[in-house]
Amino acid sequence: MIRTLLWLLAGVLLGGIIHIVVILALPYFATEDVWSRVAALQAIDKPVVLPVPKPGEPNPLRLDPDMVYAVCQVNLADGPGVLSGTLPDAFWSIAVYNRAGAVIYSTTNRDGIGQNLDLGIFNAAQTRLLAQQQLDVAEGLLIVESPQNNVFALVRLAPPHPAMRARYAEALSQLECGNIQ
């Protein structure tokens, strides 16, 4: 009897180890992750307005039907990434994601940026050049330091009314995105 209980206890301990391994390994084995979904949009060095699924359509990225989204993917190995443009006077926010789908930087236009979006994404080496003033950037540029080279930025724009969606999507597609050479 005691021996059976010991075996069961060993099973529970082994189960705990399996649990920890599963939790830690899951991100490395996920194939349908956010990066592969965004990469499929071909938004390299240009903004792509995401189609928000209608009711009844699959919504893998879990987009909010009340928002308009634009995504842009940059590789910092080709130079610092930059995302700039003028957006409508409504709530908007920006998030920079890494390869794992974690948000490395986010802000909203309520933080005093107003209507002008001017964001630069730099990797560690480029940040050092920036600190040594060997990299020429425009004044007022919002500087984001990224540990990795593969990043994408997502702009969320909130139209006050659904009738404004088309115009707001147009404004998002006018954003400039790419590498500083």
Partner: protein, 191 residues
């Protein structure tokens, strides 16, 4: 023979505990990582640059575009305030206050994230377009049958969940942030 039985028993227990616990921890974050208040669950670390292992597994598992920490926070409820799973055959009354935010949206979605609102109707409820009481609170009805005030009409059969997304929110912002002022979900009659 006895040894073999014990060995098989141990592996069965290990597999059940290991994978069962993992699944349980990642559904609404019932063990670690998630913040739960009433029927609502949120992953506050999902928008942080260095999420904890459970949140990282959750991000990988959903494959969704997470809201950054300064952008907002999404709460999901798949049960009512009494703990019963949300069923599309029933009408639900969502009422009460919400944490401080610039605005919020309420979406009814199926298990896989598909929006289940009627396609010709409102796809989501927006906090700026609600009928409100004199004290600023709003009563929202979610269900298939015609309802007064604010009605989010849904379609289909089976379970569903409600996603409440707070944009530019002060929830988790410290003192008086009001993360515990989320609305209650009460079941009305079922068809």
């Amino acid at each position: 023979m006895r040894f073999l039985t014990h060995l098989l028993l141990m592996f069965a227990v290990a597999l059940a505990v290991g994978f069962g616990l993992s699944w349980y921890a990642l559904s609404d974050g019932r063990l670690f990582g998630a913040y739960r208040v009433g029927p609502w669950a949120a992953w506050p670390a999902a928008g942080s640059p260095t999420p904890d292992p459970y949140t990282r597994a959750h991000i990988a598992r959903t494959g969704a575009l997470q809201l950054g920490q300064s952008e907002g926070l999404e709460f999901v409820a798949s049960t009512d305030s009494q703990g019963r799973p949300l069923d599309r055959a029933c009408t639900y009354r969502v009422h009460g206050t919400t944490p401080v935010a610039s605005f919020w949206t309420l979406v009814a979605e199926a298990q896989d994230g598909t929006n289940i609102a009627r396609s010709e109707g409102e796809e989501a409820l927006h906090s700026a377009r609600l009928v409100r009481n004199e004290d600023g609170t709003a009563v929202i009805f979610v269900g298939k049958r015609l309802s007064p005030l604010n009605w989010l009409e849904i379609t289909g059969e089976g379970p569903f969940s409600l996603a409440l997304t707070l944009y530019d929110t002060a929830a988790f912002g410290g003192v008086g942030s009001g993360a515990d002022t989320l609305p209650a979900i009460d079941r009305e009659d079922c068809a």
